[in-house]
Symmetry: C2
């Protein structure tokens, strides 16, 4: 492959301008737009007061403040790693013994995204295959694309990834002599970005079983992204996919406090199979030798002082109003339009909308510019599809309700309904 402009092959794989920049440019050009595009969290709900309390507590003991200002270790601050593991086990109703897990398998990263990057980097060579939903979280598709890895999408429905579709895809890859290149299955198990759906418990068990059953030529890991687990508004919690992997050799769990507390603090983590800990730490050592220690001390203090759960409760109350606003507006304004469908998410930040088949939602299609003219910005669904496997639907859009007020959400849906009627 030729070098482009003196850059590395990986720089070339990183691809063109990300959708985020394109949408940012639109927003700057049309400041009056209601953005239902950005996946940012609600601005007014950010934890100003809990963070102040935790910082005050740290600074009340200069030695503790000093510890936070010094280097930490690459794997991360032990009390935070203990707290992360304990929360996961409590939520899953399992013990360390049940899940063959210890704090030595918990690594702190700059958001869950860095963990996804590190794990992908140590597992995947150019040309390797990751199985994921069609659609999937587009930032992760960018990450694997950047590694020269093939993301192969399989069918999903209102219960998430379809096990039979994965089995079918693996059989096809085996027949093509490619099974040995399959290294991972990636899935967001709670309130998926972009679909909003939660993988059902029986499918969680099936996914672990499938990964293990097909690990005949290469080990196939399941990378479980739990970024939205805490953002549930209308149902009980479900044990994580990791809880269905009692040996702990198959599932990588990636989590973050970015959505549930603060993206500006940017503390995430991974709970890793034992064999991946050293390789991930070696790469993280090259990259930044440990995430900012101050942020880790801060999150540990927030958890230890009991400031986290009350904040999440407030967050849920706020987002519950917003999800009611967007689903209410959709029921009223979109459902009368023939051919529009959506699954009602019970949590998260996204509604995944299916338009009439004939409508192309892409940047160069008729709807996008009409929507901007009417005053609303959305993410064209096409950005959320892997390049290979199940072909993209052109008539999907992702709506985010995190940052807008309820009034803003309603105005946005009104504008969207007008735009759709104009191109329908």
């Amino acid at each position: 492959m030729p070098h482009q402009g003196g850059l590395s092959r990986r720089a070339g794989w990183a691809g063109g301008e990300p959708i985020a920049n394109l949408l940012m440019a639109k927003t700057l050009a049309h400041p009056e737009l209601v953005s239902l595009a950005a996946g940012f969290v609600d601005h007014r709900s950010l934890p100003v007061e809990p963070t102040r309390q935790a910082l005050d507590a740290i600074w009340s003991n200069p030695e503790e403040a000093r510890a936070g200002l010094q280097y930490g270790t690459t794997i991360g601050y032990p009390p935070l790693r203990e707290a992360v593991l304990e929360r996961m086990l409590q939520a899953d109703g399992r013990s360390r013994r049940d899940l063959s897990v210890s704090v030595d398998q918990v690594v702190i990263t700059a958001g869950s995204n860095q963990l996804l990057y590190l794990v992908s980097d140590v597992l995947l060579d150019p040309g390797d295959v990751v199985i994921c939903g069609a659609p999937s979280y587009f930032v992760y598709l960018g990450t694997v694309g950047n590694l020269g890895v093939r993301a192969v999408g399989v069918e999903t429905d209102q219960h998430g990834l379809i096990p039979e579709a994965i089995d079918g895809e693996l059989a096809r890859l085996e027949a093509a002599g490619e099974l040995g290149r399959v290294k991972a299955i990636y899935v967001t198990t709670y309130y998926d970005n972009p679909t909003g759906v939660t993988l059902t418990a029986d499918r969680r068990a099936a996914l672990v079983e499938i990964a293990q059953r097909w690990s005949r030529q290469s080990k196939i890991y399941v990378i479980e992204d739990v970024a939205y687990r805490e953002l549930r508004y209308y149902e009980d919690d479900t044990p994580s996919l990791r809880a269905f992997d009692p040996d702990g050799e198959t599932v990588v769990q990636a989590g973050t406090f970015s959505k549930s507390f603060s993206p500006g603090i940017r503390v995430g983590w991974g709970i890793l199979p034992p064999g991946l800990v050293e390789p991930v730490l070696a790469q993280k050592g090259n990259l930044d030798f440990g995430s900012p220690n101050l942020n880790q001390h801060l999150m540990a203090k927030v958890l230890q002082m009991g400031l986290f759960d009350p904040h999440v409760e407030r967050l849920r109350a706020g987002y519950r109003e917003k999800i009611d606003a967007i689903l209410g507006a959709a029921d009223e304004l979109l459902s009368p339009i023939e051919g529009i469908q959506w699954v009602r998410p019970a949590g998260g930040l996204y509604v995944w909308l299916r338009l009439p088949e004939a409508i192309d939602s892409g940047l160069s299609g008729p709807l996008f510019d009409r929507a901007v003219a009417e005053g609303v910005l959305y993410v064209p669904g096409g950005y959320c599809y892997p390049k290979l496997g199940r072909s993209p639907r052109k008539n999907m859009i992702r709506l985010s309700f995190g940052i807008q007020s309820c009034q803003g959400i309603r105005r946005g849906i009104e504008a969207l309904a007008r735009a759709i009627r104009q191109v329908h």
Copy 2:
């Protein structure tokens, strides 16, 4: 290349256990050891009070606190990028126009190390060549090793990298048909890790000229690491290497507040040639889409409130005592031993000691275990040499004086002198 244990080739390239872990294990096993190994900064000098003042100022305005707790942009917080650029220009005595530079070329990263990683990742393919000093900063050697890149070391002296040695190496590579694989020259321009030396002004100019003159088959960048620039105790500042590149197309400058303020806050930056900005941001977007926003707001506030420079002055006063302690102890206790030499650094955190030729300073040599038995830990110099090019000297050690008290430093040098006499 075969896959090892189902991991990627890059995971294999990341190499064995890093020296940091080996030294950590020794420290844990012998808690009474005086460590002159760790490159940590002085613990008591960490900016507890300035950080508290800046946090209080941010929290005095809830909207400002909220902004810090929200996502930022991938490139980083504009006021911080402005401040970084302004400081560089003031220190260099140049204007934006003089150096063809704008704030659009300033990217905020998780320490300078992440910038070094990102730039290397977008420039270097497996098999490509980076020219660097023999010795060089060993974490960067790990980073390029992890990319499958060949680090080729050239001779250095008390004035830093020797331009004629670089010319000679480039001529050799050209004769071997490898000139097209050379993509960068890496250099720490102030108080180098491990040698402690500062590159002289005429060599800075020469380095830019060499990189440009040899950019015949591939563009050759100079990656300038200024991590220790502020830590000068006994001389005036020198314009950076970037100041010798008025077009701004050749030099990448990587800097950090980790050494000069706090590694726990971990804010670094890059000042990039225009053509590297987009590729670096695309990679950073995949990795973490922006360094923690809170830390960026905090450092911007520290600078804006005028808290940074007084802190650096205090830091210099403290380190000046320590460098006097280590050089004084070395004069007294080491110089009587025949065959020991060192360059007196005017700043930084390191003294690079040359032992008598016959003494192997490595982990498996006779000195290391004797030194541990006598009560001192050092970094064997062998870890600081690139794999290719000028062959490593086995009789070098790196001493760090950052974390020990003056008494600890003296005890450490006493122990080292005893150990050397025993194996000499």
